[in-house]
């Protein structure tokens, strides 16, 4: 399989004007996603990962200012004609939001919400659209799919609703699927099922996927590459196995340590990361993580570390005092 770059985010920055000053939600991010590959984006709330996903889709709030380029399949989405953009969305570019209770329209039936996408992009007639919808619902593992067409979102359980949202996203065979915290709003028991579903569909359709989450454990084993974001920047990026084996950023280490481990002794203290993410309207001089970093020293407080390559060019990190850790992939 050729490593054709499908999505290339180039020097993208998102600024939001607020009464308290300019808020830089995304700070010059560069990322690439190859066709059929999965990229995981990990970070705490407020690190800019959701803003980044909205920037890709060109669904930013009205007041936001976007700079940089988002090259998708050879076209720059930022400067693309709105009508062409609209045709791309839902068709080649699809998204699954975090909370299916709010992302599905409560007054429209499941069927309507599935069929309208099919009719809009594939121009199917009503009957074919219906048939295809039933197939899609079955493919995502929803029992009794025909009945679901006339049901409303609130009649389904959380996990079911998210499956519906996934079905909608997959309906027109997109080239890239962005899943923004797809399991955060769901029960823990369902989370693995949904993630497996996404992974399975992605493999079957040779679809590229961006999996956004705050949980490092979610991306392990399910992604090809991981980018860790903090305070609007990418602070470490590596192929997934390399990230877990040889992470460099202290932040990544802290994130990993914060995941509860099933084989830890009972009553083990969960090491939380002390402090809070920085206020985006008051950028910190130096490394954004330095106030909370165990290893911070001198230079960390005065200069922003650039994103530099480790021994292999695929692994990049932004730190003056990287750690050499061999960590096991979490269970």
């Amino acid at each position: 399989m050729t490593d054709r770059v499908l999505l290339s985010i180039e020097n993208v920055a998102v600024d939001l004007p607020t009464p308290r000053g300019n808020l830089r939600a995304v700070d010059r991010v560069d990322l690439k996603v190859g066709a059929g590959r999965t990229l995981g984006i990990v970070g705490e709330s407020g690190c800019g990962k959701t803003m980044l996903s909205r920037a890709i889709l060109q669904l930013l709030p009205k007041k936001a200012k976007l700079s940089g380029r988002v090259m998708f399949d050879g076209q720059d989405l930022v400067s693309l004609d709105p009508e062409k953009l609209r045709k791309l969305r839902g068709r080649s570019l699809a998204v699954v939001f975090q909370d299916p209770m709010t992302s599905l329209n409560p007054v429209l039936t499941i069927g309507t919400q599935l069929i309208e996408t099919l009719q809009e992009h594939l121009e199917l007639d009503a009957n074919s659209a219906k048939k295809r919808s039933v197939e899609l619902l079955a493919a995502v593992g929803i029992p009794a799919p025909e009945q679901r067409l006339t049901q409303y979102p609130h009649q389904l359980s959380g996990g079911m609703r998210q499956r519906v949202a996934i079905a909608i996203a997959l309906s027109c065979e997109p080239k890239l699927l962005i899943a923004d915290e797809p399991t955060t709003a769901l029960d823990v028991t369902i989370q693995a099922q949904i993630l497996d579903l996404l992974a399975r569909e992605q493999r079957r359709r040779h679809m590229a996927m961006i999996l956004i989450t705050h949980d490092l454990g979610v991306v392990a084993g399910r992604t090809d590459e991981v980018a860790v974001m903090y305070a609007g920047r990418v602070v470490e990026r590596a192929p997934t196995p390399a990230l877990f084996k040889k992470m460099r950023m202290p932040y990544t280490e802290a994130l990993l340590a914060a995941i509860p481990k099933i084989d830890a002794a009972p009553h083990t203290l969960l090491p939380a990361i002390s402090g809070r993410p920085p206020d985006p309207t008051r950028p910190i001089k130096g490394c954004s993580f330095s106030p909370r970093c165990r290893y911070a020293a001198g230079q960390c407080h005065t200069e922003k570390p650039p994103l530099a390559a480790a021994e292999s060019p695929a692994h990049q990190y932004a730190c003056f005092h990287p750690i050499e850790i061999a960590a096991g992939v979490p269970a």
Binding site: L16, T18, P19, L23, A25, M51, P61, K62, K63, A64
Partner: protein, 290 residues
């Protein structure tokens, strides 16, 4: 202006409340007009105006002139003077009636919002009953009963303003009662009277005042409508409403006789609405921290 809008893309920006709304030029223009009307109405007797009651049958419906700046009406009386004295009447009713409504309604609202229980149900129920009647009909019926006079008109309009004031006061009290400063006062053993008067009243007064201004606008309109039909202020006293009603007769020859008082009334009502609306946006106790 209107309180509603502002595209709320700011979920991410999470602003608590837009307290610092700038009071635009329109707001100050409204204040300016209100001051003008008040000043002119209060000091009418001292202004160098022709008499508003002297009829000059030879100069009926005269156009604008140096002698009569705004012309004369159907009976030759100076229009400008009549407008100014009409302002007096419209304002008297317009201000006094809401004050009555505010006092009684405000008290009832605060008490029912504070004490809750059966008293509250009784008060709210009575207001609902009052509100079930078409207000104009109620006014007309009562006027027929007690006679047409400015005092009676003001009184009945005041009574009709009670339910709305009650609602505002009650809503504000309900919100404020749960705030910490009230609970603190209760914990300190303050009596009900003290809490009501010292803690709640000052805070309830703010939204009530904004509502008062809006009420003035409404009353001016209602009184205007009644006088327009000849059923409001008794002749020969005239308010803007009666002037408009009289002007209706001459719509074909001299439409200005209806439209001059109409403009005055419109500008005044608009001003009260603008100021009241702006103040309401600023003083709603449901917004803001604590």
């Amino acid at each position: 202006m209107a309180t509603l809008e502002l595209a709320l893309d700011e979920e991410i920006l999470a602003q608590p409340v837009k307290r610092g709304r700038r009071l635009g030029p329109l707001f100050w223009a409204a204040i300016g007009w209100m001051v003008l009307v008040f000043a002119v109405a209060i000091f009418a007797d001292f202004l160098p105006l022709p008499s508003s009651t002297d009829m000059d049958m030879l100069e009926r419906r005269a156009p604008f002139s140096a002698a009569h700046w705004l012309g004369t009406d159907g009976l030759g009386r100076d229009e400008l003077a009549r407008l100014i004295y009409g302002a007096r009447i419209s304002l008297i009713v317009g201000l006094c009636a809401p004050v009555i409504g505010l006092t009684i309604g405000g008290a009832l609202g605060m008490l029912s919002g504070y004490f809750r229980g059966r008293f509250e149900t009784l008060v709210v129920g009575s207001m609902d009953v009052l509100l079930a009647f078409p207000p104009l009909i109620l006014v007309l019926a009562v006027i027929a009963f007690v006679g047409q006079s400015i005092f009676n008109l003001t009184l009945i309009l005041g009574v009709l303003s009670v339910p709305a004031s009650m609602r505002v006061a009650r809503a504000a009290t309900l919100t404020l009662s749960r705030r910490e400063f009230v609970i603190a006062a209760q914990a300190l053993g303050a009596s009900h009277a003290r809490i009501l008067l010292r803690e709640l009243l000052p805070n309830v007064m703010l939204p009530l005042f904004a509502f008062f201004l809006l009420g003035v606008a409404v009353i001016i309109v209602v009184e205007g409508a009644l006088s327009f039909l000849g059923l409001g202020v008794p002749p020969p006293t005239s308010s803007w409403g009666s002037m408009i009603g009289e002007g209706r007769e001459s719509l074909d020859i001299a439409p200005r006789l209806a439209f001059l008082p109409a403009t005055a009334m419109f500008l005044t009502v608009l001003s009260f609405n603008l100021v009241g609306d702006a103040l309401r946006a600023l003083t709603d106790p449901r917004q803001g921290a604590l």
